[in-house]
């Protein structure tokens, strides 16, 4: 931006363990926009701009939240984890693997948000019932799969963790 519209926000975000300086941001920029367009982390997707689809789910201080509803400049001093940061070595996580293996991915647009939400679920609730799985991801809209293979992916990851895998 330039001229009268120039953003003048300066702040520092901690994303996936790395500090990022954000300069010249416009005041209303969402965390989703900043992650995608300023920090080079396009894995987090946006599909509704109002917290009604879950595609932009990230972890903020351990809580799963919609990045589109977080004003980026207010996210300072928080630990933010995106889909890119769930694994530190580049290898897929257990949940990422079961999503592929169980057929939980079609177009894949809702997938990153779901992956984050499911990690959050299984970290909090290691042995969720089917109903708890459904409720935990009821904020993540998937238009392709009808959810059946996604439920299966979550069950597979749950069972593998419970079996100590």
């Amino acid at each position: 931006m330039s001229g009268e519209n120039a953003g003048n926000e300066f702040f520092r975000l901690t994303v996936n363990g790395i500090d990022h300086d954000v300069r010249d941001a416009w005041v209303g920029e969402s965390l989703l926009y900043v992650l995608r367009e300023r920090l080079g982390l396009p894995g987090t997707k946006g599909a509704c701009e109002q917290g009604e689809c879950g595609s932009c789910t990230v972890l903020m201080d351990g809580e799963a939240v919609c990045a589109c509803l977080v004003m980026a400049a207010s996210a300072v001093d928080s630990e933010i984890v995106t889909v890119e940061g769930l694994s530190t070595d580049g290898e897929p996580t257990d949940v990422q693997n079961t999503f592929v293996a169980a057929g939980g991915v079609q177009c894949g647009f809702c997938t990153p948000g779901l992956i984050v939400a499911v990690h959050h679920l299984l970290d909090r609730t290691p042995n969720p019932t089917d109903l708890e799985i459904r409720e935990a991801i009821s904020g993540n809209i998937c238009r392709c799969t009808g959810y059946g293979r996604i439920f299966e992916a979550v069950r597979l990851a749950r069972d593998a963790r419970l079996a100590g895998g």
Binding site: N8, V27, S30, E52, L69
Partner: protein, 291 residues
């Protein structure tokens, strides 16, 4: 144009004094929607995310009340131990948006936005909650009934911050129900909260999404008090509950919109009132609910 990340209530109030047109940002679930959809031109924003005072709650056994910080997220309200103290509030909290929204949204946000469809507001109304407001210079307590003025209009002055609400600890049934056309993550078409105060001997009923503000069905409440004993563990039969619902529905002023019709909303609140009263019937006598 700037974002001020307040670290304490005092910091927030000072900022609010210095930037009287600033918008307050709690969970972001309302304000950021406006921003994202360009419905609002944001100038200054005072972010409250890091004000830990607003995220605390405590039970005062002496005054039999729970004081809940305006920023306590719904995710905390829906869980124990708070859910044990305030079951209707927990039920309402669990109907809010999605888990992601509940991790961010709070009663302070519901009050600040003051939409009649705010899921927490019928509970506050039915429980005669008190809203605690502070400015840089003073503080005041406002009854929930005086706080909500109209659609997205409240008694909060621009220099004031909603810091907490206080709800009474009551014995008796508490229930909340919300009608939406989807099984999760849906804006209320109509909602109702019924609170039984067993020691005082009163039943209170509040509605959401059927009038410009959340409303109390005071005539129906009075009618019920005149027609049934309400102390202890009252039992209500279906005919009484049905009449209660019918009377209660007369006290709302719903509209037709893209989410539903006035006629349906009026019908729905009657059904909700009837069902909630039947759930309250004999509550606590056994695990079985008489429905």
């Amino acid at each position: 144009m700037t974002v001020i990340n307040a670290r304490s209530v005092d910091e927030a109030l000072t900022a609010l004094r210095d930037h009287p047109r600033a918008r307050l940002l709690q969970g972001g679930t309302d304000l950021m929607v406006e921003v994202n959809l360009q419905r609002t031109s944001v100038q200054d924003v005072i972010a409250l995310r890091q004000v830990s005072e607003l995220r605390r709650w405590h039970v005062d056994e002496q005054s039999r009340a729970v004081r809940i910080g305006a920023g306590v997220p719904y995710a905390e309200l829906e869980r124990n131990p708070l859910a044990l103290h305030l079951p209707a509030l927990a039920q309402a909290a669990r109907t809010v948006g999605s888990p992601q929204i509940r991790a961010a949204g709070s009663l302070g946000g519901n009050l600040g936005t003051c939409s009649p469809a705010g899921d927490g507001l019928p509970v506050l109304s039915a429980m005669d909650a008190v809203v605690h407001l502070r400015s840089a210079t003073d503080s005041r307590d406002v009854s929930i009934h005086d706080f909500m003025l109209g659609v997205k209009r409240s008694a909060r002055r621009p220099d004031e911050l909603i810091v907490a609400v206080t709800l009474p600890l009551l014995d008796g049934f508490q229930g909340y129900a919300k009608v939406g056309t989807r099984n999760a993550m849906v804006i209320s078409v109509a909602s109702a909260c019924l609170i039984h105060d067993a020691s005082e001997g009163s039943i209170r009923l509040a509605y959401g999404a059927v009038a410009p503000t959340v409303v109390r069905a005071r005539n129906a409440e009075r009618w019920l008090a005149a027609n049934a004993p309400l102390r202890g563990r009252p039992v209500f039969d279906r005919a009484l509950a049905s009449e209660f619902g019918r009377r209660a529905a007369e006290e709302c002023a719903p509209i037709d919109d893209h989410r539903s019709t006035a006629r349906y909303r009026r019908h729905a609140v009657a059904v909700l009132a009837e069902r909630l009263l039947l759930q309250a019937s004999g509550y606590g006598a056994s695990r079985e609910h008489t429905t």
